[in-house]
């Protein structure tokens, strides 16, 4: 029950609070401080998740699964020199979300981004990446509850969705950082130029989800059964 309330609160924050502050930011900072506002919003958006994780005093095993999955998405990059454009982050985050719920999904995505940038260098893009990957994990967590994600078609659809979602999100950032302002024209331009990347994201997500979803959730289940409760 308590868990549901937390979920609802997170939902309200994402769907109401963020657009609201976005609107406020644009109207109050009327002279186009998009660059600043967008980063602040992304940081703010991550706060409720972090807070609720902190509040409920997570168990060591939960902390570890999140840490392990994030570290794997970062370390796993080394494997992808031969398959250009492929990145396992979204798929691993999503699978963690399916098995362990929305919150763990968000945290895995966000921490993957943060840790990854600790190795490759932080930049103004860090909060965006954290939020985008976090949201992929979050949505996966919500869908995981429906038990739909054991089937192939929903997995494929989710993979495509995650690819498009990530592309659209990061292109907002791309537009702002290239033009300093957000204009739909520039956004459309950025989106069209990013189409090939988006396709690769989608394809790689679909492949990884199809191939990894079952084995990873089996492994997570094994750990759950062998060593007692995980969640």
């Amino acid at each position: 029950m308590q868990k549901n309330i937390r979920l609802i609160i997170s939902f309200i924050v994402i769907l109401v609070f963020i657009p609201l502050s976005l609107y406020a930011g644009i109207t109050i900072f009327a002279d186009r401080k998009y660059y600043f506002v967008s980063i602040v919003i992304m940081i703010l958006a991550c706060v409720p998740f972090f807070l609720s994780f902190e509040r409920r005093k997570p168990q060591p095993r939960e902390i570890l699964v999140i840490a392990v999955m994030s570290a794997i998405s970062v370390a796993g990059r080394a494997l992808f020199v031969v398959t250009p454009g492929f990145k396992p982050v979204a798929a691993i985050t999503a699978i963690t979300g399916f098995s362990l719920g929305a919150e763990a999904g968000f945290l895995t995505g966000a921490i993957s981004a943060l840790v990854s940038n600790m190795f490759f260098g932080q930049g103004p893009w860090t909060p965006f990446q954290m939020f985008m990957w976090g949201m992929i994990g979050f949505i996966a967590g919500l869908l995981g509850k429906t038990r739909l994600m054991h089937k192939k078609i929903p997995l494929i659809l989710f993979g495509i969705f995650a690819g498009i979602f990530f592309s659209f999100g990061m292109d907002v950032w791309g537009t702002i950082s290239m033009y300093g302002v957000f204009s739909w024209k520039a956004y459309a331009l950025a989106l069209t130029s990013a189409v090939p990347f988006m396709i690769i994201y989608c394809i790689s997500n679909v492949i990884f989800l199809l191939l990894l979803a079952k084995p990873i959730s089996e492994k997570l289940d094994r750990i759950k059964n062998k060593y007692g409760i995980l969640q």
Binding site: F36, L64, A71, A75, V115, P124
Partner: protein
């Protein structure tokens, strides 16, 4: 010699938040000039070799951004020429340059941040606000190199049994990659159980955690921190009374050179050059120490 780096993480972090935050807001030519030159000087002081390498990236980026804006935005009164019926204006070109300056300056500030705010400093600060997450982060940071090492072992073992992920068709490579990842995940999750046990065995969850660190907050830290906060607020005041406001459209506003404005400009200069001053001071001190030895 890295002098500013030795300050307490909270000082470093406050400096970068203030600097990067203000640099993102101020689109005033004087302010932009100050931030880009401070960022360049600090880069030269801290990461000379790397900085000269980075230039190859920043210069084209700068010009690209400066060019794109006039193509998209056709505001402004000083029209240079028309392309396909759209006006290319001086305002738009200069606005593009301003944006490009800001973004490159922020990138440069971030590269200094990456040199000074090492991960342990960040984790320490983060731990003060969010202990559980900062611990998760610390564990994850430790696991990445460990997993990389394990990956090379798995890759070799799999190569011997014919699952070489670097050769063969794309599909074969993907299959091998997934297989290797899968082995890594099983291994990692299994080992994580031990780590969780080790945390429990050492009393994790018994009481509210404290955050220990080897960082010591000295008097000089307090002094510099106070200075940063003071200067930050003086710049906010400047923003509030409009000193930092500058319009490119419909046409350029005027840059003020009255006494108040100059004082505010100076306060920005002082804030942004804090690390550089310490770097230079530290280097000079070392030289004199060495010569007297």
């Amino acid at each position: 010699m890295k002098a500013f780096e030795t300050f307490h993480p909270i000082v470093l972090f406050s400096f970068f938040v203030a600097t990067i935050g203000l640099s993102m807001i101020f689109m005033h030519p004087v302010y932009l000039t100050i931030t880009i030159f401070s960022a360049i000087s600090l880069n030269i002081a801290l990461r000379r070799q790397l900085f000269f390498k980075d230039w190859k990236l920043y210069v084209p980026l700068f010009f690209l951004m400066a060019i794109i804006n006039p193509m998209i935005s056709h505001n402004g009164q000083l029209v240079l020429l028309y392309v396909n019926g759209n006006a290319i204006t001086v305002e738009a070109i200069l606005y593009g340059i301003a944006i490009a300056t800001m973004i490159v300056a922020i990138m440069l500030w971030f590269s200094c941040y990456n040199v000074m705010m090492t991960s342990d400093k960040f984790i320490y600060l983060f731990g003060k606000v969010s202990p559980a997450l900062s611990l998760t982060l610390s564990i994850s940071l430790r696991l990445v190199p460990r997993f990389k090492h394990q990956l090379t072992q798995i890759v070799q073992a799999q190569k011997v049994i014919g699952m070489d992920f670097t050769t063969g068709s794309l599909w074969h490579r993907i299959k091998c990659t997934v297989r290797i990842l899968s082995i890594l995940i099983t291994w990692a999750l299994d080992n994580a159980i031990d780590t969780a046990d080790s945390m429990k065995a050492r009393g994790y969850g018994v009481k509210k955690r404290t955050a220990f660190s080897i960082f010591i907050f000295e008097r000089r830290d307090g002094f510099v921190l106070a200075m940063i906060i003071l200067l930050f607020f003086s710049n906010l005041v400047a923003s509030f009374i409009g000193t930092t406001t500058y319009y490119f459209y419909p046409t350029f506003g005027a840059v003020k050179w009255d006494m108040t404005s100059i004082l505010f400009y100076i306060s920005y200069v002082i804030l942004l050059s804090i690390p550089l001053v310490f770097e230079i001071w530290g280097a000079l001190k070392w030289r004199s120490l060495k010569s007297t030895m």
